[in-house]
Symmetry: C2
Subunit: 253 residues, 2 copies
DNA sequence: TCCCGAAGTTCGACAATGTCGAACAGCACG
DNA sequence: CGTGCTGTTCGACATTGTCGAACTTCGGGA
């Protein structure tokens, strides 16, 4: 019988639910979400627990994600070609720009951060690898959206992240069109209050955009008028993006 | 039918295999490892690919881990109580000791790093969250082994990591006994050439050891004679461990 | 103190489900 | 142009997971 394996898909649905709120879930709660008998859900949970993908709180009986997933996620980083190739250039971009560097891929309509270099000379930063960020509010996301031919612009609805986030679809489309021709994107205070970012696309050997690299930091260092970012920084990001693309086998630009 | 769900366990076995070498695996290769028909393996892989847990190289047809796992692993960190409670104390330990801080849990006989604070004023460090380290060669691991009542000392065989790694079981047992009474462990050049580490146990509300916190850095800063570490550093680590334990609800020191 | 409700867990019958292995298709090498 | 690898498809079979009712445990009200 060809097709998807039901129990594996259900197990994945449970894991995704568990990942969706940072809290523990009960059996009946999960069974309501998935519209499945609680006996069935319990059986899957018992299996997932046995393999370490979920853990059960010994006092409340509720379930949460398990430690094995942390190691699996980390192992993914080792085989991610984009990240492997980009690491060296990311370090260099960080030291030249003196800002934090992020590398992201499109995942599920959002931006998945696969690499993060801290800003030099500043250790009070939190690590972002593995985080999913909203596409429309980040420079990385705008680059990925603008270069994604297979998306449906009408479909999504964009949530407000900060007061400055672009939520109007038509205004976003205009900006994405500009990003596409310019070859880079900016973002000023749209994702985090007081922070700005710049990003440029990374292309593979078929010249398809497979990711984006960018820098992020305080608005004051990125922009003098809170409208336009400093061209020197844009040039640094574009140089890094081109260098990574070349490493991945891209031919043009 | 109570018990484990076969297909889910098989899917997990495939994921673990894929995580075990940083390379791509073919269908037949996996089917040989698991002793399953390749049709079966292919069906599971197709499902795992559909849910984003594995990805297929479009040119070679081989499989590797998928990006969804990175996000799931990161989500695990949000619900990990040990990590949540320990973060603040870890930052403080890092700034007091001026060394990199690690927090680890026992997982599969090894040490799983769940949190990592970079050494202040030094940005050339690689992130370790999600990494599995050998127990017998690290200070964190020694603390966890010494406090694990359910392990079988005879069973394991300890691999050489550096020239200084302890591989003799009886010598290791003696050291673990000392760790247990002293309440902390050291490690000098046994995991990484030129690096030393100190760790102490973290206890939960039942006074069981659920993790360990420690610092790691260049041997020269940790020890003057390459035999004993500086007592001031040990005191800092023990203070931090006690503080985290108190946060977790532990009663006695 | 008792009862009720809601939680997590167990269990067995049923049939839907995943498994198996042979056959197919595509590629690289000789 | 065959030969030996891949990864993939397919259908029959019976193993396997699913379902839902019954059990147990816990905690809050009455």
């Amino acid at each position: 019988m060809p097709g998807r394996i039901q129990s594996v898909e259900r197990a994945a649905a449970i894991l995704n639910l568990l990942a969706s709120g940072n809290r523990r879930f009960g059996v009946v709660e999960l069974s309501r979400f998935l519209d499945l008998p609680k006996g069935t859900v319990h059986g899957i949970l018992a299996t997932l627990q046995h393999i370490g993908f979920v853990e059960q709180d010994r006092v409340t009986g509720k379930y949460q994600l398990g430690a094995s997933l942390l190691h699996l996620g980390n192992s993914y980083l080792d085989v991610n070609e984009l990240r492997t190739r980009a690491i060296n250039w990311a370090d260099s971009l960080a030291s030249r720009s003196r800002e934090a560097v992020q590398i992201g891929t499109q995942h599920d309509g959002k931006v998945l951060i696969v690499h993060h270099v801290f800003r030099p000379d500043d250790s009070a930063q939190s690590l972002q690898v593995g985080v999913l960020l909203p596409s429309h509010a980040t420079a990385l996301g705008k680059v990925l959206l603008a270069n994604d031919p297979s998306r449906d612009p009408a479909e999504e609805d964009w949530a407000l992240v900060t007061g400055l986030t672009i939520t109007d679809p038509s205004r976003l489309e205009i900006e994405l069109a500009q990003v596409l021709v310019a070859g880079w994107a900016q973002e000023i205070g749209e994702a985090v209050d007081g922070e700005a970012a710049i990003a440029a696309p990374i292309r593979d050997d078929r010249n398809l955009v497979v990711g984006a690299i960018g820098i992020r930091g305080a608005i004051e260092r990125f922009s003098y008028d809170r409208q336009h970012v400093r061209p020197e920084l844009v040039a640094l990001v574009q140089d890094a993006a081109r260098a990574v693309s070349r490493d991945l086998g891209a031919h043009r630009g």
